[in-house]
């Protein structure tokens, strides 16, 4: 693993790319759908909460320097628990990769690839991700870190290009469907930050384990800002009632951008950026699923696990039969599985690990180290 060490920029990029991929698809719609005009407020709220959650996790990780959550699971429940946790995480990653990929493939098909079967589009993405992973984890993380600035710039361009067309009145009523929906029911929107799971999985790959807190906080804060900009753009351009209808939320608002007279519509340029984002997204998730599997099976030199994971993602893309099922999988299954697995199961494992260390009297010693 020593040659898979990654730096600060690469680590932050890994988390951001996954969250941005969600933003590009249905996440802003989903949040606006449940909170209405209080979407931006809800994003600030869940971002602050996500920071707190991360700080709690970070505290629980403090006796496990240079270890990831799988190592902690092994410490808590031995090899068996590690294997069970690994399988759950792998299946979770395969599921979210498949669902989001299918959603994006449908988007591409709707926009301009009408003659190409969705399955083929998904297959292309999976194949490219498999090839990318042949070049190694480091290459995937570095490529991801190169692509990320372009995506961030694209989101900023969208925000500022549409600034003149914003209707500030759409911020009101400030609490949208009410305080309960914004702050109590809206709490579940913290699933938007579900990809902090990657932060727990890549802790053993940091060049400097001391950076873990900085990496986590930077990732969450940046994600929060990007999510806020996207939701604000969407809310202030379309009334939330209609904005929530489209499945291509960010794409829809890019169609409203007018740029001089040379380009009729610039949204196609954004498609190129989104395509790169999704190549990166699938590659990153595949890399993580592979990292988990390799750690368990010690099959680092074989391509079979990569192929099986790719096949798994492809099978997931074949399951939903229509758009409604995709949206159900994304908005309900994904949301609650994320809350249970990332924020529930991971927390329990970490808490048990921390308590076990404390019981053995190792917490203070290792924290000081």
């Amino acid at each position: 693993m020593s040659n898979n060490k990654i730096g600060f920029v690469e680590s932050v990029s890994l988390t951001l790319i996954v969250i941005i991929s969600h933003i590009l698809l249905n996440l802003p719609n989903e949040i606006l759908g449940s909170t209405a005009s209080s979407g931006p407020l809800n994003v600030i709220y869940i971002s602050v909460l996500a920071v707190f959650v991360f700080l709690i996790f970070n505290k629980l990780f403090s006796p496990f320097k240079g270890k990831d959550i799988l190592d902690v699971a092994e410490f808590v429940g031995g090899n068996i628990l590690r294997k069970i946790v690994s399988i759950i995480y792998t299946l979770y990653i395969i599921f979210i990769a498949g669902i989001l990929l299918l959603n994006f493939a449908n988007t591409l098909k709707t926009i301009y690839l009408q003659d190409m079967p969705t399955e083929l589009i998904c297959l292309v993405f999976i194949l490219i991700a498999l090839i990318a992973n042949q070049f190694g984890f480091k290459s995937v993380t570095r490529t991801n870190a190169i692509i990320l600035p372009f995506i961030i710039v694209a989101i900023l361009i969208i925000f500022f290009a549409l600034f003149a067309r914003f209707v500030p009145e759409r911020f009101f009523p400030l609490l949208g469907y009410g305080a309960n929906n914004t702050f109590v029911l809206g709490l579940t929107n913290i699933f938007a930050f579900g990809e902090i799971l990657l932060l727990f999985l890549m802790r053993s790959n940091y060049n400097d384990p001391k950076d873990s807190k900085k990496i986590g906080l930077t990732s969450i804060i940046f994600s929060g800002i990007l999510l806020f900009l996207s939701i604000t753009s969407l809310l202030l351009i379309f009334p939330f009632a209609t904005g929530g209808e489209g499945i291509l939320s960010i794409y829809m608002i890019t169609r409203s951008i007018q740029f001089g007279t040379f380009f009729q519509r610039v949204d196609a340029f954004f498609i190129l950026i989104w395509v790169l984002t999704f190549f990166s997204y699938i590659s990153v998730l595949l890399a993580f699923a592979l990292k988990i599997t390799n750690k368990n099976t010690k099959t680092e030199k074989s391509n079979v696990p990569a192929f099986l994971i790719g096949l798994g993602i492809f099978i997931v893309t074949l399951i939903p039969q229509n758009i409604a099922q995709i949206r159900f999988a994304e908005n309900v299954i994904y949301k609650y599985s994320c809350l249970i697995i990332v924020f529930g199961m991971s927390f329990v494992i970490m808490l048990l690990g921390y308590l076990k260390k404390r019981k053995k009297g190792l917490v203070n010693i290792e924290t000081k180290e």
């Binding site: 490219i128 070049f135 570095r142 692509i147 190129l272 391509n303």
Partner: protein
């Protein structure tokens, strides 16, 4: 290419079906090979006759026309010894052989005939004279008195001697001595130092490397006035033993980098290496990729500036190009002209080159993607004009663009291969006449000519020849991908390209340094800083001395 290799590797490993190496030329026993005992390491014999027979056999003197053997009687202090010299005609200075080897050894001069013992010291005690006499030693006498040459070595191994004779030295064998004198009297016809033809510079030095190794190393020595400049010779090849020089500055270049370069050169099990391009393929990290991994230059000043940065330069005998390593992608965008200009101008040129890079790589693919799949990008008027220009063209747009790209590549190749006076004619006929005729005949649309022409002009703005080749190949891939699935295809290309770039290393240095992985770009980024702010050497080189100049280099500004 790397992508295809990885794809192949992936499926091979997946199915656990490792393909065996399949070489189909029929087996043939070599009929005439050198006897094995001759190839063994053999030391020189004390008997001159035995040495003579050995040399005659090894050099095939009876059938080799340019191998010259001259037997003679050597006179030394009144004694006579049987001796012979061997050299290769055309590689040596024959007048030096006559005047400074044969003449002193053969002529019976008075001093040489004096057989009296040399008195070192003399003491007289009680009328008894005690003299300390230096015993006559033929070896020392020849070396010290009879060979008025500046470079003479005593060599006891035939292998080493033969190698030196092959490179233009003369070997002297004398009876009773179990080694030979290796005398450096090289002189052969060679091209004189001329202007760089492929890397011209308006304000830079006008000296280019030539085919001779020693001339090239002297050009470097002349430009770098530092005793820490090391030029080590390494022999490459078993059949054709050719020399290459590994140059570095001892107190700047990273030791492990130097060791790695020497390790790779010393571990080449090849019969021969004909050119520096072959050598590049043998020592680079990933020979499968089309991306260049070692920088080549014919400019002595460029080689020197890279040495001063802490890089290693390899000069191969017979090649007018020096190899510079390690490199990053951004080094291929750098021209030596950059450091000869004000940094504002240099940076403008660098930006232009970066734009040219993207145009060369992506323009035809983007044109196809936009006109086939993403027409909404174009204003209606422009779209109409494109459609109108294509009304009479019978081919699909992808065929049209591939046809024009292929024609352009043909014109370029033909222009290079024909004699130089005809080159411009081919260009004019190809570009103007053919292009105009193709448009008039409605084979291609006029706008496509513009696209191909802009792409071609941009490709000439890339300073490095090898990178240009990579772009030419990649451009075809992007064109096909753009035609197949628009921006999705272009995205596939860019992603694979990026991941290839991220995985590539040149002698341990990541190819996208200093940007990925991120290191200090202040002093060694793509853009050039003012000369007084270039304080540090590149981080990724891990040079022994990181500082190039003080923070305030212009001390004259400080009046205190």
């Amino acid at each position: 290419m790397k992508f295809i290799k990885k794809l192949k590797e992936f499926f091979n490993n997946l199915m656990q079906n490792q393909e065996s190496y399949d070489f189909t030329i029929s087996h043939e026993t070599p009929s005439e090979t050198q006897p094995e005992d001759l190839l063994k390491k053999q030391n020189i014999y004390p008997s001159v006759d035995v040495n003579l027979d050995y040399i005659k056999s090894r050099y095939n003197v009876l059938i080799n026309s340019d191998i010259k053997l001259r037997e003679f009687i050597l006179n030394a202090r009144g004694k006579q010894f049987k001796a012979f010299i061997i050299y290769i005609d055309g590689l040596v200075d024959t007048s030096s052989i006559n005047d400074f080897i044969l003449n002193p050894l053969m002529i019976k001069s008075y001093s040489n005939q004096n057989n009296e013992p040399q008195v070192v010291s003399e003491a007289i005690t009680n009328n008894i004279s005690v003299r300390k006499i230096k015993r006559f030693n033929i070896t020392d006498y020849i070396y010290e008195c009879l060979l008025p040459q500046n470079s003479v070595k005593k060599v006891s191994s035939f292998d080493e001697l033969v190698q030196n004779v092959n490179s233009g030295n003369c070997a002297l064998f004398v009876d009773t001595i179990n080694f030979a004198f290796d005398i450096d009297i090289k002189k052969f016809a060679q091209r004189s130092i001329s202007e760089p033809k492929n890397e011209p510079s308006v304000r830079g030095s006008q000296e280019a490397f030539v085919e001779n190794l020693r001339t090239n190393t002297s050009l470097i020595r002349k430009n770098i006035n530092n005793e820490n400049l090391i030029i080590e010779n390494i022999t490459i090849g078993k059949t054709n033993k050719n020399n290459c020089a590994v140059c570095y500055i001892k107190d700047i270049a990273n030791s492990s980098l130097v060791s790695e370069a020497k390790y790779r050169l010393n571990n080449l099990d090849v019969d021969y290496v004909l050119s520096s391009s072959e050598l590049i393929q043998l020592i680079c990290d990933d020979p499968e990729t089309t991306l260049p991994e070692i920088l080549t230059t014919e400019r002595a000043d460029k080689a020197c500036s890279n040495l001063l940065q802490g890089r290693v330069v390899i000069i191969y005998n017979g090649s007018p190009y020096a190899l510079i390593l390690p490199v990053t992608l951004f080094d291929f965008f750098t021209s030596q002209e950059d450091i000869n200009l004000n940094y504002h101008f240099s940076n403008l040129l660098k930006v232009l080159r970066a734009i040219a890079f993207f145009i060369t790589l992506l323009l035809p693919g983007l044109y196809l993607a936009i006109t086939i799949y993403h027409r909404e990008l174009l204003p209606i008027e422009l779209l109409y004009s494109i459609v109108a220009s294509r009304v009479n063209v019978p081919f699909p747009i992808v065929v049209e663009i591939l046809m024009m790209e292929l024609s352009f590549e043909l014109i370029r190749e033909a222009g290079l291969r024909v004699p130089s006076p005809l080159g411009s004619t081919v260009g004019i006929v190809g570009a103007l006449v053919l292009g105009e005729a193709a448009v008039s005949a409605n084979i291609v649309s006029p706008i496509l000519i513009i696209i191909v022409a802009i792409t071609a002009i941009s490709s000439f703005a890339i300073p490095d020849f090898s990178l240009g080749f990579h772009l030419r190949i990649s451009r075809f891939a992007y064109t096909i991908l753009g035609a197949l699935c628009g921006f999705l295809g272009i995205g596939i290309g860019i992603f694979i390209h990026l991941i290839t770039l991220c995985s590539l290393k040149s002698f341990g240095v990541p190819y996208l340094s200093p940007y990925m992985p991120k290191s200090n770009v202040r002093n060694n980024g793509y853009m050039l800083r003012p000369v007084w702010k270039r304080e540090k050497r590149s981080d990724f080189l891990n040079a022994k001395r990181t500082t190039v100049q003080d923070k305030i280099s212009m001390k004259w500004r400080n009046k205190d």
